[in-house]
């Protein structure tokens, strides 16, 4: 009797779990692939999982162990007047919007302010900022740290971005500082290095 029940429970669990997992896709290593519904393409050196849940309309997230543990997100051409990712509470806590006249220095600020509002990350800090070439354009590379409110876990991140033709292109990699960040940072950098249009 108890075996039958256990079997039933297992079937029920699978039935519930299946539709959720169905949208996630494996990204094979070594193949060039378009990301974030944009002209941006990358070539990963290792396998990644693309999550079915997107952070926003022109965005997607890849992970190796789950998005709380390592999160590689692509924002592919966010237009002027749109927030970086989906609004959490548009009426009471609206997110800052991308602007076509943004300077290169405004890209880290946009990410920082969006995180501070959407994730209650009041201890967010941009640690280093440097100019880079982003797929042939003038871009910025920056690193940051933050913790969500009421969490003692510190997260680290690095991002590269540029405003090209009035649209924002950005790639972020973030993970808990402890263990996970270093574990997949190299794999994430291979992906970010391979960006092309």
């Amino acid at each position: 009797m108890s075996k039958k029940l256990a079997l039933l429970a297992a079937v029920a669990t699978l039935a519930c779990a299946a539709p959720v997992a169905a949208g996630n896709t494996l990204i094979p290593a070594g193949q060039r692939i378009a990301v974030a519904k944009s002209a941006m393409t990358v070539q990963p050196g290792t396998e990644w999982n693309k999550l079915s849940e997107r952070p926003g309309r022109n965005a997607e997230t890849w992970t190796q162990d789950g998005d709380e543990l390592n999160d590689l997100s692509f924002y592919g051409g966010i237009e002027s007047g749109r927030p970086l990712f989906r609004e959490v509470d548009k009426k009471n806590r609206p997110l800052p919007k991308v602007s076509a006249t943004m300077l290169i220095t405004d890209i880290p600020v946009l990410l920082e302010n969006s995180y501070r509002i959407a994730r209650d990350a009041s201890s967010m800090a941009i640690d280093t900022i440097a100019p880079i070439e982003f797929a042939g354009s003038k871009g910025v590379r920056f690193t940051y740290t933050f913790a969500k409110q009421n969490e003692t876990l510190q997260r680290r991140g690095e991002a590269r971005g540029a405003v090209i033709g009035g649209k924002l292109y950005l790639v972020t990699y973030e993970a808990p500082s402890l263990y996970y960040y270093d574990r997949s940072a190299a794999a994430a950098r291979v992906v970010a290095d391979s960006i092309r249009f």
């Binding site: 009426k91 806590r93 609206p94 997110l95 800052p96 602007s99 006249t101 300077l103 290169i104 220095t105 600020v109 920082e112 302010n113 501070r116 509002i117 209650d120 009041s122 201890s123 941009i126 640690d127 280093t128 900022i129 440097a130 100019p131 003038k138 910025v140 913790a147 409110q149 009421n150 003692t152 510190q154």
Partner: protein, 381 residues
């Protein structure tokens, strides 16, 4: 003459003391007595450990000593002695006290109050919750309420109305507690060296800021005159009104004391302003800055923060205003290098390239080791 006045002041306060409601009884090293209270304390102890290790905790001894000083001067030295104080860097107006006697103050509160008295009013209110053991009473009220609802759903057909009224009573209980803590906080303030009118001032500014936020987001300013069935607190308007009435009735004329709030906040003001500016709340932040400037005038940190606020909203007219605020700050002579950075970026976005690059060059000259030096340099060349 002064002696006579003083004597009469003491006389009236002594007379008034008889009429004032008594403060809660104070027990040193109070320990929980019942199983419920012990459970609540155990949970609070656990949360306090998390709070103690929080990354956003501000450990600056000077700021902690200042806030503790205000608490002690408000509720008296012996009562405040056992309180553990935690200042948390969260840019919102809030403070709370846990049932085991830990007080958590958010930096958004420190930024919004303009004097020791206003800070004391809020800390006194929270301390009132603690001394009146409100968490325990609220827990019991909820348990009784949910018990009644559970039994009603089994024993009585169509018990929805009963459940609705029970839930309503639970929230009404919470509002009563807030009122009680307001009045207890007021009693502390009235007995302290601070003017009791500060309690109502705080709530009036909270309402003003809420209106400014709503208008800034193209909404309508709205204040409820009556708290809804599911409101945990009385309306801000109600609080401002009954606290103002109480302060008029108390009529406490106290000798002015040197207020240390501005001095204690000086080091942290730019940090807390920065946290506020990054919230994308133009109306509320603008109101807050004007409110602070009302007390101190437009000082350099306030002007720089206002420049950042306008520059980040970034409409063409905002960029012109932002450049003016930075220039005013620079004109005062004590502006940080970041004022030149802000000025340069605002001018660049306004298509004033040469002037913008000159300002950025000044920034780099003043702060060659800035984190973003290399990036800013690319904007000049």
């Amino acid at each position: 003459m002064v002696g006579l006045l003083l004597a009469s002041a003491i006389g009236t306060s002594a007379l008034a003391a008889d009429k004032r409601p008594p403060l809660p009884t104070y027990t040193q090293a109070y320990t929980p007595t019942t199983v419920d209270e012990r459970g609540i304390w155990m949970e609070a102890d656990e949360r306090e450990r998390v709070q103690r290790d929080s990354r956003s905790l501000i450990k600056d001894p000077a700021l902690n000593a200042y806030v503790r000083g205000v608490l002690c001067r408000t509720v008296s030295e012996d009562r405040c002695r056992s309180v553990r104080l935690y200042i948390d860097e969260v840019p919102a107006f809030n403070a709370y006290m846990t049932p085991n006697g830990a007080m958590v103050v958010w930096t958004g509160l420190l930024l919004r109050v303009r004097s020791e008295a206003e800070l004391g009013a809020i800390l006194g209110h929270e301390f009132g919750h603690f001394e009146l053991r409100h968490s325990l009473k609220d827990f019991k009220s909820h348990r009784t309420g949910t018990d009644v609802m559970a039994w009603a759903s089994i024993l009585i057909r169509n018990s929805a109305n009963i459940q609705y009224s029970v839930v309503g009573q639970m929230y009404a209980f919470s509002r009563d507690q807030e009122r009680e803590a307001d009045m207890t906080g007021f009693q502390y303030l009235a007995r302290s060296q601070y003017p009791s009118s500060a309690a109502a001032d705080v709530w009036e500014h909270v309402m003003g800021e809420a209106d400014a936020t709503a208008i800034g987001r193209r909404g309508r300013a709205q204040h409820k005159y009556v708290a809804g069935v599911f409101a945990t607190h009385p309306t801000d308007l109600a609080r401002a009104t009954y606290l103002r009435a109480a302060s008029i009735e108390a009529h406490d004329v106290k000798p002015a004391v040197v207020d240390m709030h501005q001095a204690a906040m000086a080091k942290w003001l730019p940090v807390f302003l920065n946290d506020q500016i990054k919230l994308n709340d133009f109306g509320g932040s603008e109101y807050l800055l004007a409110n602070l400037a009302d007390g101190t005038g437009w000082t350099t940190p306030l002007l720089c923060a206002r420049g950042d606020l306008y520059r980040e909203r970034g409409n063409p007219r905002d960029l012109v205003s932002a450049a003016q605020f930075y220039q005013e700050a620079i004109g005062k002579g004590d502006a940080p290098p970041e004022a030149y950075r802000g000025l340069g970026l605002a001018l660049l976005r306004s298509q004033q390239v040469a002037e913008g690059q000159a300002a950025l060059a000044t920034y780099l000259r003043l702060k060659p080791a800035a984190t973003d030096a290399a990036l800013i340099a690319t904007l000049i060349s």
